[in-house]
Symmetry: C2
Subunit: 411 residues, 2 copies
């Protein structure tokens, strides 16, 4: 299953996707803040949305289109304003954004999705939005604007997050690409029937694939990628993962149980994993990337609970920032996680270096442990020794800059 | 129900309690790190302990005594080392601490409780502990050492936490007092049959009171005080609330349903509330005291979930530190809390100033909101408008100093 990441991969790497971006006046920084993604061929669309009760208007709008299983031709996305907690006016504004874009593109409004990200509780300045959308479309969408689009969806992100992979399936070269944003208010939650995510991620592919298979594959990949990251434990009101499959490659349809289905799933997972991890690496103020792996738990849920409690522990996160191998905080977090286990049988490793064996310090010298925790990448493994389930949560540390960014954040 | 806080109230304000404190070599700072609290009359004892799976040895030791409903004459407490994650050796060390103290005091080891707080995962240096206990008892316990004892139990605390109230019940003057420590790793959890807490709090009283009534009253007061605070969302392995009632006042026994029972409960609650709030005010790096009150929820649990999610939200806590009236973060936290409500009917106030009404910004000028969030004390009220239950969680902000303290903490 050869899979190649393209060196300059971007959201327009798959065939027949075009995009345009502009600054319309939403961001004080005057960076790009609006973009329109367009597929010449109406695409099969699948998505995952936040389950936050205060869901933003664009989430409500887009979810309706997805639930109706409409084909989607375009997505209009703004950053700098979340259009969340904006009531009926907010709903009207999302609809209007879709309408303005659909009219300028000459498509039906039911083929449009809308996404917003940024400050909560402020109505969108619709004149600026309108001018932005119209100028983007008037100046012509292009497959060359991929990198600009990835920039236009950023908020507190420090780096663009985009990638594309190519692979062969059903005798055709297929491409999957993504542009993603997210840096804070990142903490997806498991155990929902309708999967969700806590950032914006757009995924395009030119594959022809059975819609049910696509939905199933998408859901599984979301659970194992975006739903396995946490930056600050805060779940957002807006965030969405949307995949458009426009079929431009013209391959023989990928069906369930085929080898192509396996290849496709692996490629999609690699793209999502890369994007999910890039959110964590660019987490607000993050200086470290930490994988918290729980093994031999009694259930998948217990494994997730244990890894997640540690990944969200403020005391663990600040210790990682300080390079302090304070494994007592890890044990304490495992202890209150709700996972079932016997402390006297539990072991903990840092980057494969044993720290606790059967509930007791193995006496690895503090300096040796400290040198592991001083690394940019830390892998923590907790062996609960009571079952066969495992789960890894990807997270980062909490630094002075995290506090700075969030004590002073106003878009 | 007149109730007076004594100006110099301390753990020895109730009759027949004496204490001694020393530095035995556990703290690098060379501050006092060990103390012995003694009651001349064996006392009825009730307690609440952490439910963390990695419970410390002294918690296991003391819980056995409490469960056996033994009368308690003394507590030996050390700071600087938690004796947690220390296995069988740790259990033996707790027992030995109790034995050393009981022998020096000339009492039975079954009349002793043991508490430890500090760094996790390091064995207690028993020679130092032994010398400490013996020198404290050799130099004589005294009711004048109350303030010193409150100092000896501190770890990252910046201030001593102690108080005493006097009131009349059953025609006698009764006193309830407490010394408490706690500043980080503070996040008690509800819904346990055996209540627990996440700090050390010692409460003494000279009242004569029915043991069942005392247990019931104690549990109710713990739920409404220590179980309503959070500093960082991290539940500790060690912490304990212990109440000793030695009956030295010789009042007619306070029985269930009496006026004295009501007066006693109110007094005990006032002491616990003051101590619980003082932990939050002295929370690691805290610059603000925040009360998060949810009203009109569908159940007590929902009210608690909503207030607690906001109180633990890193984004809310950093916004408070920055004086940023970012109510979107409060709405988002309520939205993922798990509480059932309709966003379109939800309202939020800051210090009685309306922020959101029926899910929408009321347009209070940003500067006016900012001036409320700039205050030292912030009261946030969320009206879910779906029921009649309410709950308040007391918390604080997260500052640069929180990160500093916890990135660099080593006792």
């Amino acid at each position: 299953m050869t899979l190649t990441f393209l060196p300059k991969g971007n959201i327009c790497s798959p065939k027949e996707f075009k995009v345009g971006a502009a600054y319309c006046g939403l961001k004080k920084s005057k960076n790009l803040d609006i973009c329109v993604l367009y597929s010449k061929l109406p695409a099969v669309a699948v998505a995952a949305f936040t389950t936050n009760k205060f869901r933003a208007a664009p989430v409500e709008f887009s979810e309706k289109i997805i639930r109706a299983k409409k084909k989607v031709s375009a997505i209009v996305i703004n950053s700098g304003n979340a259009n969340a907690c904006t009531g009926l006016q907010g709903m009207e504004n999302s609809q209007r954004m879709a309408k303005i874009a659909s009219e300028a593109l000459g498509i039906s409004v039911t083929e449009m999705l809308v996404c917003s990200t940024g400050r909560i509780g402020v109505q969108l300045p619709m004149e600026k939005i309108k001018n932005g959308i119209e100028s983007i479309i008037a100046s012509g969408l292009s497959a060359k604007n991929g990198h600009k689009a990835a920039e236009a969806i950023m908020t507190t992100d420090l780096s663009k997050k985009e990638c594309a992979v190519v692979f062969n399936a059903e005798n055709k070269k297929i491409t999957i690409a993504s542009m993603t944003k997210g840096s804070g208010m990142i903490s997806p939650k498991l155990e929902t029937s309708f999967p969700h995510a806590t950032m914006l991620s757009f995924i395009t592919t030119d594959a022809v694939i059975d819609q049910d298979l696509l939905t199933e594959t998408f859901n599984e990949c979301v659970q194992n990628s975006f739903n396995k990251i946490t930056v600050d434990g805060d779940m957002s009101t807006n965030d969405s993962v949307i995949l458009l499959a426009n079929g431009a490659t013209g391959n023989k349809k990928i069906n369930k149980g085929s080898q192509g289905a396996e290849i496709f799933k692996n490629a999609l997972f690699q793209v999502m994993k890369k994007m999910a991890q890039s959110i964590v690496r660019d987490g607000e103020g993050a200086t470290k990337f930490v994988a918290v792996e729980t093994i031999n738990a009694r259930s998948e849920k217990d494994a997730d609970l244990c890894s997640r409690a540690i990944a969200n522990s403020l005391l663990c996160k600040t210790a990682w920032f300080g390079g302090d191998p304070n494994w007592g905080r890890i044990a304490a977090a495992a202890g209150y996680s709700g996972a079932k286990f016997n402390p006297a049988k539990t072991s903990i490793d840092y980057n494969n270096l044993p720290v606790i064996l059967n509930g007791l310090s193995v006496g690895t010298p503090e300096a040796k442990l400290a040198s592991e925790v001083a690394k940019k990448n830390i892998h923590i493994r907790i062996n609960l020794a009571v079952g066969k389930y495992s789960a890894t949560i990807w997270t980062n540390d909490i630094s002075y800059d995290y506090v700075k960014i969030n004590a002073e954040y106003k878009t």
